[in-house]
Symmetry: C2
DNA sequence: CCTACCGATCGGTAGG
DNA sequence: CCTACCGATCGGTAGG
């Protein structure tokens, strides 16, 4: 009955995208040639174009779906019921889960969006701002609740938190001793404390 | 008497390096051509090589002197007298000053070192680890003093702090309302609190 | 998916 | 600092 659960169908196109994520993440977009991708895919360069339109199409798709993963994980948490403290903790944990489930994709999302064409780049920037607003909302709620320090500069506080979170793909290794959940908990502990009153 | 104070002599070579910092920072090393640099310098591509050896030499010099700025600012603070709390505050402020005095150079130091040749890349990684150790030392001192939470994972705490600090060139603008000193103070306030005991 | 190829651009050099 | 150029590599295409 019904259709098969079409979870990650390993089409040639999706395989090429996975390879592009890996190579764009480690060598950068401009440092990766279509010949690099073709070689890793096991095909001659011209043959790639039976499956994809262009190099930039690969970047567009990786960055857009990558940002969407973050938005889909965090926006519902920001809008949920519950204390700002709990929501911030959940948002940080969710962010770290998304980063660590594909650190190379995260590197592309964080650093390679600059190489998108104008329209796609502006769309990516708009989504990143939407993402920041989810955190701004939680912080403002927490200040209104009286649990976060009301003397905080909310913008800088959010950029400090997101900076700490967005740096994780630079050092995270699945072979490390700390699991993504543990890392998320530790960072949430620290970053929540960073917003509290002294007293 | 004596020699003139040879502060930043504007040689052709140093001008080319400044241009390379700007372009490598905004377009990346692999996304910048020697023709881009020559055009910005106002010369034809081949003429650059009267002043420099190669494209990679530019990157080596930018990354090495860039890392040295951070080390020279923070290592003396880590080794100084005084409480861990004070030293961490000073180290964070010093880091932000170094980042903001040249955000583009900071972007190159943080993200373009991957494109160095093997030997230079390993040297850069070794220096980055030395930099992390300066912060590890301060945190361990603070835990020994009993002022930082002894249940902290020191490695992850340092990477959280450095992540927040290293993200600043992504958003800092000299035209913003907060000065580098103010940004450094705010981040130091947050990050110091993040290490404290709950009680 | 391969063969064969396109024009453009790359880092860099020789000679003046 | 320019003229003139090198071989290598780039993203991408036509035709099968």
């Amino acid at each position: 009955m019904g259709t098969a659960p079409a979870i990650s169908p390993s089409t040639p196109r999706s395989s090429i995208l996975d390879i592009a994520v890996r190579l764009f993440g480690s060598q950068g977009y401009t440092g990766t040639s279509m010949r690099d991708i073709a070689k890793a895919f096991g095909v001659l360069p011209g043959s790639l174009y039976a499956h994809i339109d262009s190099k930039e199409t690969l970047l567009v798709e990786i960055v857009e779906t990558g940002i969407n993963h973050f938005l889909e994980a965090v926006e519902p948490i920001a809008a949920a019921e519950g204390s700002a403290g709990m929501r911030l903790r959940d948002a940080i944990r969710a962010h770290i889960i998304v980063v660590t489930e594909n650190p190379e994709r995260s590197l592309v999302v964080f650093h390679q969006w600059r190489f998108l064409g104008d329209d796609y780049r502006e769309a990516a920037i708009a989504k990143r701002q939407r993402y920041e607003r989810a955190f701004i909302r939680i912080l403002e709620d927490g200040i209104a609740e009286g649990v976060f320090d009301q003397s905080l500069n909310v913008r800088i506080a959010v950029l400090t938190i997101l900076g700490a979170l967005n740096w994780t793909p630079e050092w995270y290794s699945p072979k490390g001793t700390a699991s993504p959940a543990e890392i998320g908990d530790m960072m949430a502990n620290m970053l929540l404390r960073s917003l509290m009153f002294k007293g």
